[in-house]
Symmetry: C2
């Protein structure tokens, strides 16, 4: 179907030197940025990219990102990110991703929730009011999608583990701290030996607030179940990001 | 000439979303990693890549990197990195780079010095002893190369500006802190407004030591001439990296 061709778009990547982490696999933050990049290209191809939205004084905001990888590609390996939109409901849209190896075999999946906000008021808009009818024409319900969406992350007894002041090199083109820097702050709670012994399988990132150059962020950690870690990044006591790092190999959301 | 085709290799890139910095240009650290990646691919094509050297228990080590950009590409722009080897002299080889826009017009240049060390003893080898005759066949003397090589960076009255503990996400595939993380530590001395008002033109990085996960690095700063900054990154009092950030538009090395 023609609709499906635009509805579902694929982008090919290769793991280049200096994009791996110390376990030898494509780093989670590089993968995360490539998921966001694929989302951007897909939105543009359908009339709702950054340039198109900003002309209506709107911008996309990422609210949730869940990535589950059964295997991450290694240096020189090619892989494909395919993305499509599952649903639009009032202020939120669900976007899905599949990561597949060069033979088309799935290596992992990702789930995300986005809002579109008014650039001036910072208030989310009703997505039914997106110009030209929005994503309505290209939704793919995807009942068979193999990973769970975002879970509820509740921290009760988190302990502060460290803090870091954000600098120029943490910023994206908009002057906000890059979403994947928060993931790196979470990953840095553990060392390479931990990740080699407990390969990370599922990550969740729940974004609550933007931060900027000069902001001092604190990182709070609470072990959840076995090899599951809940994390909060805070600024002036307020939560900026909640996260889950999960090295268990089943796909059950955290409690 | 056939020799020249291998001697000089070009790699094409496009500035993708999430690889820019807050000034809207390709970030210096992404560019730096792409220079190193191009060096690696060129070395491999000539028989001296990572895989080929490690089979002789040797690895390349970057000693100096100088990058001078008259203009950095912006989102969506394509550019080409061309690299070749200028000289081999005892323990060091000089590798040059040109960065050109989609029309072939130069946007900047880079100069680097590398050594090959024995993986076990960490001692540099005489490059004339590289297997199969080394780079001798493909040297391009390049007398017209438009930028100066590495200068002598001497700090006399540096003041400590901050410190940061290296974590998992700072590491490369070998478990060393990624060379470009040091550059980011230097860049973070200033904010986006500084770089917007004083576009960075030339950077120099002089690498003295490796660092690892858990190492606490301190960053020392000394203003040199107008809009030139000397920086030292230290671990336990010993210099790890010396750097120059230069926003003047002429091409004179720092004093």
């Amino acid at each position: 179907m023609d609709t499906d061709k635009t509805a579902r778009l694929s982008f090919r990547f290769t793991v280049e030197p200096y994009t791996e982490d110390a376990t030898g696999c494509l780093s989670w933050s590089t993968l995360g940025n490539q998921l966001l990049r694929s989302a951007g290209h897909h939105a543009s191809a359908n009339g709702f990219g950054y340039d198109q939205l900003i002309s209506h004084n709107l911008v996309w905001v990422l609210s949730r990102l869940v990535v589950v990888m059964d295997e991450r590609p290694r240096t020189g390996q090619s892989y494909t990110i395919t993305t499509w939109v599952k649903s639009c409901f009032r202020q939120f849209t669900e976007r899905l991703f599949e990561v597949a190896d060069a033979n088309g075999r799935p290596m992992g999946h990702a789930y995300s929730i986005w809002a579109a906000i008014d650039y001036t008021t910072r208030q989310p808009i009703d997505l039914a009011e997106l110009p030209d009818g929005g994503f309505g024409e290209i939704l793919l319900p995807s009942p068979e999608f193999p990973i769970a969406g975002a879970s509820r992350l509740r921290l009760r007894n988190a302990v502060q583990q460290g803090e870091r002041r954000m600098g120029f090199s943490d910023l994206d083109i908009n002057g906000h701290v890059n979403s994947m820097r928060y993931l790196e702050l979470c990953l840095d709670l553990f060392d390479a030996d931990y990740y080699r012994s407990n390969p990370l399988h599922r990550i969740e990132l729940h974004f609550a607030n933007e931060t900027y150059c000069g902001d001092l962020l604190s990182v709070w950690h609470e072990p959840a179940a076995d090899r599951q870690h809940l994390i909060e990044i805070k600024k002036d006591g307020a939560v900026v990001v909640r996260a889950l790092l999960d090295s268990t190999s089943d796909n059950t959301p955290a409690p």
